[in-house]
């Protein structure tokens, strides 16, 4: 079989989707940990954020890899969705998808799009100001500014609300995505059943923590 055919193979595409997903899941774990610190200690949070913001390994190696991971996951998600839709040119007049599959598994594209939109907002809120601060305006580093910026962002109830809704959809996305990625890479045994349970907890706890953090800062200040 030709090498090009291999690259186009359905299974490799879904494996790539799964691997990028697993990568993003580890990133989420890190992100939620950092954010959670903001509830516990302003100083530690500032310190950690400053480290992340100025460590060259994170800034110039991990950040681009993350960006590539995110872009790949999204682009591939769109491509696959379009291809999968094309596999059924005439739709059913009556299709009872709820009878045999969860909402989250059937609507990854919807939860994914919400997360994409959220990322736009999130970049607008944090990433663009950060880049402007550091690289465009060239302002001198200030290791104490992060907590204040964070709290300020959650002042607006609409933004806080949008964040919370997005986190809930992130939960749905993870609910299917976590276990699904294991299945895609070919794991199906007692360990994967355990890991899937971990995944369900993860998809509840992590978004819940994000929501709690957002609401905490909204109401606490």
């Amino acid at each position: 079989m030709a090498q090009s055919a291999l690259l186009n193979a359905s299974i490799l595409k879904k494996v790539a989707m799964a691997l990028s997903g697993i990568f993003l899941i580890t990133f989420l774990a890190l992100h939620v940990t950092l954010n959670f610190i903001s509830i516990i200690s302003e100083d530690v949070f500032n310190e950690a954020s400053h480290f992340m913001g100025y460590n060259p390994l994170i800034q110039f190696v991990m950040q681009p890899i993350l960006a590539i991971g995110v872009i790949f996951h999204f682009v591939m998600g769109f491509v696959l969705t379009l291809q999968n839709r094309a596999a059924r040119p005439i739709a059913y007049a009556n299709y009872n998808g709820a009878a045999n599959a969860s909402w989250s598994s059937r609507n990854m594209i919807i939860s994914g799009l919400v997360i994409l939109a959220f990322l736009g907002l999130h970049f607008y809120d944090f990433w663009f100001p950060e880049v402007t601060y550091k690289y465009i305006a060239g302002t001198a580093p200030d290791a104490t500014r992060y907590y204040g910026e964070l709290v300020h962002k959650f002042h607006d109830p609409i933004r806080t609300g949008l964040y919370c809704v997005s986190f809930i959809l992130l939960g749905f996305h993870l609910w299917h995505g976590f276990a699904s990625s294991l299945q895609s890479v070919g794991m199906h045994n007692k360990y994967s059943r355990f890991l899937a349970k971990v995944g369900y907890w993860f998809s509840v706890v992590v978004p819940a923590l994000f929501v709690i953090i957002a609401l905490f800062h909204h109401f606490n200040n």
């Binding site: 193979a9 359905s10 696959l80 999968n84 009872n96 998808g97 598994s105 070919g186």
Partner: protein, 248 residues
């Protein structure tokens, strides 16, 4: 029982087709779904109309010929059955029942509710076999003991009847449960391991050529499969495929 049937009618592959309503009366709960359609067809013929074409053969749930997407589900609302084993006692008097063909680009409609599932055959031509000739002097069947658990799993995968419900029900029209079952049946047996690498590469390649969608692990196929083929088979295929493609 009195029912309203909403049935997909399509004269041939070129025709556009559409849903037509048929009221029907006098249906008994003990009838199978296909016997209910027999009654309808008898009435249509007597009225001088064309009967509804649908695939069926053994009517005991093993040949895999019957299909039908009934009220939004492959083989209808019951679990672990094919359409021919679905009985009218699953419905209530006065129900409206949608009856559509299995839909997928790889399953084009031939007429009414009859679809062409030869894409499944072509996938198997590509590798659904063990290359052994009939000679009469193959080794004794008991020469190679097979671990019972593997033999049982292989059997469970081989229980697939090739009906296509997995494709029909999958929101992506993916055939991975079918192909996964075929790959697993052989991959689990010592006899099948010899050409496992080639087999999985070739079968998946053919599956992709046929225009099936990709698997997003919704699990709908496993729920609707009349033979309860497990998703584990898809995972095994993924695994086999990954290791095969790494071997190149």
């Amino acid at each position: 029982m009195k029912l309203t049937l909403k049935i997909w009618r399509q004269k041939n592959a070129q025709d556009k087709g559409g849903i037509v309503d048929y009221p029907i009366d006098g249906i008994e709960p003990d009838m199978s779904f296909l016997e209910m359609l027999d009654v309808l067809n008898e009435q249509l013929i007597n009225k001088g109309e064309e009967p509804v074409a649908f695939d069926h053969d053994c009517r005991e749930g093993i040949c895999g010929m019957c299909s039908l997407f009934i009220n939004g589900e492959a083989h209808g609302p019951d679990r672990g059955v094919t359409t021919c084993q679905l009985h009218m006692r699953m419905f209530k008097d006065g129900d409206t029942i949608f009856i559509e063909p299995f839909r997928a680009k790889a399953f084009p409609v031939i007429k009414d509710l009859v679809v062409d599932r030869s894409s499944f055959d072509r996938i198997q031509h590509a590798g659904g076999f063990i290359s052994v000739n009939t000679s009469g002097n193959t080794i004794d069947a008991n020469t190679i003991p097979v671990n019972k658990s593997d033999a049982d799993k292989s059997f469970d995968a081989a229980a697939c009847i090739g009906c296509g419900a997995c494709v029909a029900t999958c929101k992506n029209s993916s055939a991975m449960l079918f192909v996964g079952a075929k790959v697993s049946q052989y991959a689990l047996l010592p006899q099948g391991k010899v050409e496992a690498t080639e087999r999985v590469l070739n079968m998946v390649h053919q599956m992709d050529l046929e225009g099936f969608g990709n698997c997003t692990n919704t699990g709908a196929c496993e729920v609707e499969c009349p033979k309860g083929i497990s998703l584990e088979n898809i995972a095994r295929m993924n695994r086999e495929y990954l290791s095969a493609s790494l071997k190149g």
